[in-house]
Symmetry: C2
Subunit: 251 residues, 2 copies
Amino acid sequence: MSSLHAASPGLIRTSGSETDRRRLNTWQAVRADVLDRIRSGEWPPGSLIPTEQILSKEMGCARATVNRALRELADSGIVQRRRKVGTRVTATSSRRAMMSLPVIRDEIEAMGARYGYQMTDCLARPPSPEAMQALQVDAGDSMILVKSRHMADDRPHCCEAIWLNPRAVNLPDARLFGTVPPQEWLARTLPVAQSRFSILAEGATGACAINLLVAVGTPVMAIERVNTLNGLPVSFARQFYPPHHRLVLKD
Amino acid sequence: MSSLHAASPGLIRTSGSETDRRRLNTWQAVRADVLDRIRSGEWPPGSLIPTEQILSKEMGCARATVNRALRELADSGIVQRRRKVGTRVTATSSRRAMMSLPVIRDEIEAMGARYGYQMTDCLARPPSPEAMQALQVDAGDSMILVKSRHMADDRPHCCEAIWLNPRAVNLPDARLFGTVPPQEWLARTLPVAQSRFSILAEGATGACAINLLVAVGTPVMAIERVNTLNGLPVSFARQFYPPHHRLVLKD
DNA sequence: CTATCGATAATGAATAGACGATTTCGCCGC
DNA sequence: GCGGCGAAATCGTCTATTCATTATCGATAG
């Protein structure tokens, strides 16, 4: 019926973008088409684009298919949609980018290096002020602090300090962390937790500098991660990466 | 027909998660339900969960609705799906997090501060080695380098150096950048470009340290951004943020 | 035993149709 | 002019159905 069934070339525009549309699904073709017409200036930033119904008729596909395409574009911040109003091209270039935070073991092995892990400390102690704030506990609670470092081919790749909340999770024998990184143990124990990350630059402090084999005060990138499960804060981790480490995001 | 039409309570499980499901759509309810059963250990990491058909029957909704829910979970890395094989709970805790990179003006005004912009330099010169690599140009090409800083209530918030490729975009009169930040001009001129970001920690160098009012060598967070349009690299920007600036990601 | 081929099962995508939610817009009474 | 109210437009979601794509498994020919 439709001129545009699965990968039929009906939709392909002659404008000649670099994307190879021969193997695109219909909704991906619609998305690419809309993107092209935005880029070409046909629909400038801030303007309304035609309704789903008009587009579906124009492109010879179902409205649900156009909906899927436009929803994806809205998810990445390229357009904004409101009922009854329509779909508007986002005026500013505010963009959302997806970052993938792999397990450090995978990250290192993906580079083709040999992974190594060393626990450097494992203490029960009252939480630091940052840990108190992140985990919503108070100074009286006793927390577990595990410090460790991760090596790539015997060179330090990252060092880590993680606070674990014994009220949120049953901790194993501490010796386990001598061989198993706490993040991996946590991932196996609590399948899906909700996480909040933040990224900042810091000067390396004493232990961190020693573990990363850099001078005190050297700029390091810190990634903080708070895991919560059912609203209960479970862990607060800080990972430090030496200079020249890059976190890459694609948009 | 279905026991689960739009926000009907049919699906609501008694497990009592913290999420308020009374106002969830059906597909969101399905997603929450699956997530709960993963978290509860019913479907441990690495295991296969029931097929879409079984789930749709079990939950009294259409398979397309289950598909939507499981697709969202796959998009955020919680499950992995393969045709004919099924849907598997991701074994590692590798997660994808969404980061929003707002226009700096918006970022500052959202904090309730007054935005200020100053251009500090605007030069035509051959590209630096990094710019050559990022923009895929060679040393013979003449590029435009604009340096600027952004202020929040008269305190430096971020400084920026951006290389523009005159072969990819028609540049305006350079005086424009005295009042309009290059990123904003770019956003208005090229509606939707594809971007690649990377984030790293560096020590502040001379001009950067002066602009941010910090000592040389102070750790700063650098965000690099390469914009390309139809495969043609358009701009290469490096933004530097002073210590204590945090980039926040929600998962 | 092994390679190949077909049946089967699972997800992926598309369709038409329906209904619901939300916001705008104009009409009407005042 | 103005306030309220209902019609209409538009996106959001759901269903049922069909076909496409991909992988697994087992049977069969050699």
